[in-house]
């Protein structure tokens, strides 16, 4: 997957777990939780969806890598490049 495709994947997942939110103005370098109503349980949904959809396991120590859209793409790119 390309960076753009990974970005779309993440936004798709967030759209599912935060269905009341408008994601059109989301800032890619600002933590999701600073601009969306997401709590720790929602965050775990992102981890679960990556596991279910792509078989990607995000260790707990790496959760902080998924804080922003940019950091998520950077973290996932090497793990999803062959998908």
């Amino acid at each position: 997957m390309t960076k753009e495709e990974i970005k779309t994947v993440i936004l798709d997942i967030i759209a599912e777990i935060a269905p009341d939110e408008d994601l059109s103005d989301i800032k890619s370098d600002v933590p999701f939780r600073d601009q969306l109503e997401l709590d720790s349980m929602d965050f775990l949904d992102i981890v679960m969806e990556l596991r279910k959809r792509y078989g990607i396991e995000v260790p707990e120590d790496d959760y902080q890598q998924l804080a922003t859209l940019d950091s998520s793409v950077a973290y996932l790119e090497p793990r999803m490049k062959d998908l």
Binding site: I17, P19, D20, M41, M48, R51, K52
Partner: protein, 427 residues
């Protein structure tokens, strides 16, 4: 009925601070999303039973609700919570709105939520097992939302989260007596002065899992009929089992003194109740235990059987169960010409934990319209169930109704009876 005063209330056995009244009703039934709509459909004999697809079972007959959950919840809350939680929220919000309480100014630490359930958690347990089956039963795919969804207090807890209630909340596991037991718990918490407002009733999401349908079928107790609306037929000769339904009903309960002080509309006063156990069988009901339960409730209310004008029966439409309740009613109410009898399940099926609360709610308007709604689908009345004054197929205008007795029984021999009294309008 506005305009009530303490003096207008008959038989002031106890101080008004120790009397508990119903001042709000919120409900979700297979044939109505408000008391007015529900009552009208009950009077019209309109069934809410239809065909419904259930995983592993395929098409079954069930009572399905169509309330708008987004009226009080965001999409994300719906995604996170349970169907029972969502139903309870809808009912609780509607009940509070109906009560006229200024909820925003209430001390939320003095509000409690007490909901009867038949069971809770099966829906999400079944769903999780189905989900992990797609991943070769790898338990890493069990949702982190599973625990908060299946804890037994979930439906009541979701109400507190949604409404900012910080008083006590829990559910009461009471099989199919749950709706009565929830109401009784609310009454008791008011008398103990642990709360000032009790949101009490029952809720069920049972139809969203295959288990109840499959188990009733294995017991030979799952209703079947070509026409779903005719499947639930208590007291009819050809009844053949239970129609499982979802639903909810929440009452606002307050002390009479408070309700009078704020000029609340009062649906009725809870004047008696009883709960007991058959100690007889896992599944089979027992007329002796049921009769004792009704007698205990009458005793608490200080009533004679002939004082009761309407008995809302529990009968579910099983061949074995209905005659037991009829026998119990004959035993207690023999020679009571002004005691009428009906059944609600014929139109809404068996709403499990919500059943008793819904069935009481649907009969409360009879205090005002003096009419008993019918039980439907009686084409051939079973002689064993041919109770005097059974109101069937057509509603009956009967004159003044002062006391309603609401029965609810369940597996493991749990019995419950609640008696509600009409309060006089001072005008």
């Amino acid at each position: 009925m506005p305009g009530l005063t303490a003096n207008s209330v008959n038989s002031a056995r106890v101080p008004s601070q120790e009397r508990v009244v119903i001042t709000g009703v919120g409900l979700a039934a297979p044939n109505g999303n408000s008391l007015a709509e529900f009552r009208q459909n009950l009077l019209n004999g309109k069934s809410g039973i239809r065909k419904f697809d259930v995983r592993y079972m395929g098409e079954v007959i069930a009572g399905v609700c169509d309330f708008d959950p987004l009226k009080y919840q965001k999409k994300k809350e719906l995604r996170r919570g349970t169907r029972a939680g969502s139903t309870a929220i809808y009912c609780a919000q509607e009940a509070v709105a109906d009560s006229g309480l200024d909820f925003d100014s209430l001390d939320k630490s003095r509000v409690g939520v007490f909901l009867g359930i038949t069971e809770h958690g099966n829906v999400d347990t079944e769903k999780q097992i189905y989900e992990i089956k797609q991943y070769d039963y790898d338990t890493r795919y069990v949702s982190h939302h599973y625990n908060p969804r299946i804890v037994a207090n979930n439906p009541a807890g979701e109400v507190t989260l949604n409404m900012g209630i910080t008083g006590p909340h829990y559910t009461l596991g009471a099989a199919c007596a749950g709706g009565n037991i929830g109401l009784i718990q609310g009454y008791q918490m008011l008398l103990l002065n642990h709360v000032d407002v009790a949101l009490a009733g029952g809720v069920s999401e049972t139809i969203h899992a295959f288990g109840a349908f499959a188990s009733f079928r294995s017991e030979g107790a799952l209703a079947s009929h070509e026409d779903p609306t005719k499947a639930c037929r208590p007291f009819d000769r050809d009844r053949n089992g239970v129609v499982v339904s979802e639903g909810g009903c929440v009452f606002v309960l307050e002390r009479l003194a408070g309700a009078l002080a704020r000029g609340a509309r009062i649906y009725g006063e809870v004047v008696g109740y009883a709960m007991n156990s058959d100690a007889f069988d896992f599944i089979l009901p027992n007329a002796e235990g049921q009769a004792r339960c009704m007698q205990l409730a009458l005793k608490m209310a200080g009533l004679s059987p002939s004082d009761v004008n309407l008995i809302s029966t529990h009968a579910t439409g099983t061949p074995q169960g209905d005659p037991q309740e009829c026998q119990a009613i004959r035993q207690v109410f023999d020679g009571c010409p002004n005691t009428y009898i009906n059944n609600t399940k014929s139109m809404i099926g068996h709403a499990m934990g919500a059943a008793a609360a819904l069935e009481l709610a649907g009969n409360l308007p009879s205090f005002e319209d003096q009419t008993v709604h019918p039980t439907i689908n009686i084409d051939n009345l079973d002689p064993d169930c041919a109770l005097d004054n059974l109101v069937f197929n057509e509603p009956r205008k009967v004159g003044r109704i002062d006391y309603i007795l609401n029965n609810a029984f369940g597996m493991l021999g749990i019995n419950s009876t609640v008696i509600v009294k009409r309060l006089e309008n001072s005008s």
